[in-house]
Symmetry: C2
Subunit: 342 residues, 2 copies
């Protein structure tokens, strides 16, 4: 088994607005794992706010060594020894987990969703994210992305109500709202959510700072819309702790360390009565295709990450009638269309 890492600079189709300035690229590391004539692909998304670098991921992946003979189907054995070598670096673990699952499916000749016995007809519609921008720009963006049945609005700035109003002027599609920890006052948040509930909004993500557990619990008890944890949920322990604090959780491969962890976390969240949102980073069609295989376990999907990238080296999931469907090919099913190296 041979690992090859490719640091990549993903170019954004449109600049991504930040509190201060904006950025036009996002770093990632793509991983190839070669084993007995097969190649598995994985990806570590590295949004700068998480603080991990491409060098961190490359070094961590180079520390992974397995004893021969390697049993490809023993994912638990391979991943647990790899996790010990990688340490607490979820994007690196996610890249390896994806590549091993890709090999696993290719070896067995089936797409991952089929090997998990999942029912594709349960895949929910996916949303397209309208970033922090002016109301006029958001209205224009909402007009453009007609193929997405749900729009996700990034709020938490100064003109939240104006943004929602502007988008509502041009579409009656359901909206979702992500405050990204940007709200401060819990009573004001509850009032605003009451208004959002009249605007056909499906749910609200991470209203306050993730550390404000009591305030989220207070809001969840009163909110007419589901309150979903994003920044507050990275690990399985976070999912368990979300009960009674949030109505649901946003699970992302890059946060939790890959498909195996995400599958278990979705199973646990559902058992605990939590709503499940399957989300993503700004990442290539490799990571997005990987996530779509788990989408039958999610109540909502937010898998538009690859649509934001101009130089995506892969093709993968297809948007069909508003749903991101996994490729029908074995494994993750993402296909390389540009060389990763150089």
């Amino acid at each position: 088994m041979r690992l090859i890492v490719h640091p990549l600079t993903l170019e954004l189709r449109e600049p991504f607005a930040l509190a201060v300035g904006s950025r036009t690229t996002t770093p990632a590391v793509c991983l190839e794992v070669h084993h007995e004539g097969l190649v598995g692909y994985g990806e570590a998304a590295l949004p700068p706010y998480l603080g991990w670098t491409q060098a961190d991921v490359c070094q961590a992946l180079h520390r992974v060594k397995w004893h021969e003979p390697i049993h490809l189907l023993n994912l638990d054995g391979l991943l647990s020894s790899a996790a010990a070598a990688i340490g607490p670096l979820p994007p690196a673990l996610a890249a390896l987990d994806m590549a091993l699952h890709d090999l696993f499916g290719k070896y067995l000749g089936q797409p991952l969703y089929a090997l998990w016995g999942l029912d594709l007809s349960r895949i929910p519609p996916t949303s397209f994210t309208v970033g922090l921008m002016s109301p006029a720009a958001a209205r224009e963006k909402a007009r453009q992305v007609v193929e997405y049945p749900v729009l996700k609005l990034k709020l938490g700035g100064d003109n939240d109500r104006a943004l929602v109003t502007a988008v509502r002027e041009v579409t009656d599609r359901p909206l979702t709202v992500d405050a990204n920890q940007g709200w401060q006052d819990r009573s004001a948040a509850l009032d605003f959510i009451g208004w959002l509930a009249e605007q056909h909004v499906l749910f609200v993500e991470q209203p306050f700072s993730a550390a404000r557990v009591d305030d989220h619990a207070w809001l969840t008890e009163r909110s007419p819309l589901p309150i979903i944890a994003d920044e507050a949920v990275r690990t399985m322990a976070d999912v368990v702790r979300a009960t009674g604090v949030y109505h649901g959780v946003n699970i992302k491969l890059a946060k939790c360390g890959g498909l195996r962890a995400a599958h278990a976390m979705l199973t646990v969240a559902r058992a605990l009565g939590l709503k499940t949102l399957l989300g993503c980073m700004t990442e290539t069609s490799c990571a997005i295709a990987a996530a779509t295989h788990l989408a039958p376990l999610a109540d909502w999907a937010d898998l538009d990450g690859a649509a934001l990238i101009a130089n995506d080296p892969f093709v993968g999931a297809q948007l069909v009638d508003g749903r991101m469907l996994p490729p029908p090919s074995p494994g993750i099913g993402a296909r390389l269309v540009k060389p990763l190296a150089g």
Copy 2:
């Protein structure tokens, strides 16, 4: 896809002692599912105290109809429509779930544990059950079953301490204890468990009636040994409710409706910090082999059910160094060695 049901009377190697009298047989229904040249096997164990009959199971399974074309790998789709037809009859659902998983693995050419990516090296030792009997008989039984590294003692009668003492005279193997809801007084139970902890006992199953939630929580808070729910846990909701009431849960395919439910319940129990025991009914090597594929997810295994049967129509799991290992053949891997019909 064609279902054939076989009501079976399983003959016990030794009479099974009950509060009143004893029994020498136990009823079951074996299921064959034929699909595109493959045959999958499943089993409904029907211990009489649960109240379901072979006729109940046969009628329920005959109600199962799927729309063509049938996609064998869509286990979630097939099982959810089957569950609607079968209704609340877990042994029947377990039989169907096993047969579909057997077909699933045979179609893909791999044993189930491999398709689940599980690590066989994590399978715990299995125990052998010494039923309710006199101390002298229990001592003799403990002497005989040398190949099992753990002995499980059925307690809850009048001579619990004498039974443990008698067995301890002839073996230093670890013991486990199952009170089967037979204890009444919680202080007496705590005292007795204190003594058991000095006898190298690993855990105690279901001390009181399953309905006595507060008493179990009281005992769990104080007990030096893990307190494990058996009769109190049938469904996923029961697993979630076991947190704070028990230290762990006993998961059995026949209780929860099969491999898919058991897999999810083991995942959830582990996430909630509950210890996991994988148990069984008195059932054939088909159901036992099925359970062994999940054994890497269990802290303890109690999979001796087929060893108690004189006319087992299957061979399946092998006891190797005290561990019940799944067959290496595709699917469940149980092989028919006697005709099921007639």
